[in-house]
């Protein structure tokens, strides 16, 4: 008997989608892309050519926007009738279990569409007794299952069969988790306060602010890009979209790319052709960010560029999703395999064209 050892040397698969379009195009997907990326951990705006953020963008960053953390919340609270009527149906509610790793633990999320998503282990799934689907990423072994409960259905009320079944399942399994929560009431200028007072009496709640950070760059090399061309040119007049994306990543990670050190250490430097800019500003926000805030920043930057508030050729807005969210965009399943990246970058040009980069890891469906 011979024994052969098969070594797989291929790296984990990943997907990068680069899209070129215009904000004025009717078919443009930029709004959908921002609004359907529900769980955002970090947002970063990079503007070359300015020492300070332009006024409208600055105002949006300065707006206070808090989120809440609720400790040890049993899932039965999420199907509480008052909770559904007063919060789920009357605004955009974003909830995501905190400190739960999707490749190890059960993860729960409430989407603003009123869907409760549970990504649970096989044993929990069997005990729960609810109908779900095996996770798309381990169909053979069926290690994890995804259960969806529509909280906003008219027939999802106490006394109805489906409701009682879900309630019994949650009571039997005693599932609970710490939750990050953000709620935007529909229409009114009401604050998110009521949602806190709803939980405050029975559970430990805490209000948190987004952490903000500003970085300033001086004498930075910018790769030259051509807004109408993603691919490389024949005679190297501009950089490709992929090169630009890698460069922006380097800037965001605080890597000095103006000059390459000796070859033995690294061969990476700013892609060519490039142009020196005297100053650049990078502002970031970290926490639990609702898509509405990202949209507000995008609109503000566009209006600043229209009003010529900053002399920059372009601006870049990057948004990082939660690595352990059960969904990436809309209801597309998301998982963790070596990494849980689900992030997008909008490169906004002056002429209202934009490039959209959507990057996801192995356990993700192509956006």
């Amino acid at each position: 008997m011979s024994l052969t050892l098969k070594v797989d040397l291929s790296p984990p698969r990943s997907k990068l989608v680069i899209e070129k379009s215009s904000f004025d195009d009717e078919k443009s997907r930029h709004r959908k892309n921002v609004e359907e990326h529900y769980f955002n951990h970090k947002m970063e705006l990079f503007i070359p050519g300015c020492a300070e953020l332009p006024p409208s963008a600055q105002a949006v960053f300065d707006m206070s926007d808090d989120f809440y953390i609720i400790k040890d919340l049993p899932l039965t609270e999420l199907i509480n009738k008052d909770f559904i009527e007063n919060f789920v149906k009357k605004g955009s509610l974003y909830m995501l279990s905190h400190n739960t790793h999707i490749d190890k633990h059960n993860v729960y999320a409430v989407l603003p569409t009123g869907k409760l998503i549970l990504s649970v282990h096989k044993d929990t799934y069997e005990e729960l007794g609810l109908v779900g689907q095996p996770s798309q990423f381990n169909r053979k072994v069926k290690r994890k299952f995804v259960v969806e409960v529509d909280l906003t259905q008219d027939i999802f009320v106490p006394g109805k069969k489906n409701y009682e079944r879900v309630k019994k399942g949650f009571q039997r399994t005693e599932l609970k988790a710490d939750f990050l929560l953000s709620w935007k009431p529909r229409g009114t200028r009401q604050s998110a306060g009521p949602v806190l007072s709803h939980f405050e009496d029975s559970y430990r709640c805490d209000r948190r602010s987004q952490v903000q950070q500003t970085n300033k760059h001086t004498e930075l090399l910018l790769p030259v890009v051509n807004s109408s061309e993603l691919e490389e040119s024949d005679d190297g007049e501009w950089c490709t979209a992929r090169e630009w994306y890698e460069w922006l990543g380097a800037v965001s990670c605080g890597i000095n790319c103006n000059e390459a050190p000796e070859h033995y250490i690294s061969r990476y430097s700013c892609p060519k052709p490039n142009k020196l800019t005297a100053t650049a500003v990078r502002r970031s926000m970290t926490g639990f960010i609702a898509p509405g805030r990202v949209w507000a920043v995008l609109e503000a930057v566009r209006s600043d560029m229209r009003d010529n508030q900053c002399p920059s050729p372009w601006a870049a807005l990057t948004v990082h999703g939660f690595a352990d969210s059960p969904v990436s965009w809309a209801r597309r399943e998301h998982g963790f395999h070596h990494g849980g990246e689900n992030l997008y970058t909008l490169l906004i040009f002056r002429d209202s064209t934009y490039w959209l980069f959507q990057a996801v890891g192995t356990n993700d469906i192509c956006p």
Binding site: R13, V17, E19, K42, K71, I255, T318, G339, L343
Partner: protein, 119 residues
């Protein structure tokens, strides 16, 4: 509107690694760090492995941590070699691989580090 979809193997992979010595007072400069990586590749794959281009994009000598870049086809080899390393210069040490991604941008945020405690 134009759309480019790249699936499968990325041209480059990035690794966020930390080198830990049993002797916590060890000082390691970037050249030594590069040599440790080369030795690790050498002992696993010989001369060919040692010749693989690995870029140290960022190095922090206080924590002996770095962001590395390697071609997609060599990523698994590098990861394997780093994992198997246990000695440098007869001093016990180990690499910790914290994050691996085909996107450099992904290293700018890490939601798993967001730890919130209520008092």
């Amino acid at each position: 509107m134009k759309r480019i979809v790249s699936k499968g193997d990325a041209p480059y992979y990035y690794l966020k690694v930390l080198l830990e010595f049993e002797d916590k007072t060890m000082a390691v400069d970037v050249l030594t760090f590069r040599t440790v990586i080369m030795k690790a590749m050498m002992s696993m794959y010989g001369e060919v492995g040692a010749a693989v281009q690995i870029d140290i994009l960022k190095y922090e000598d206080k924590t002996i941590s770095a962001i590395l870049r390697v071609a997609g086809s060599n990523m698994v080899k590098l990861w394997g070699a780093l994992t198997m390393l246990s000695y440098y210069d007869e001093k016990p040490c180990a690499f910790r691989v914290h994050q691996v991604s085909p996107f450099l941008m992904a290293f700018a945020a890490s939601s798993r580090q967001l730890l919130l405690h209520t008092e």
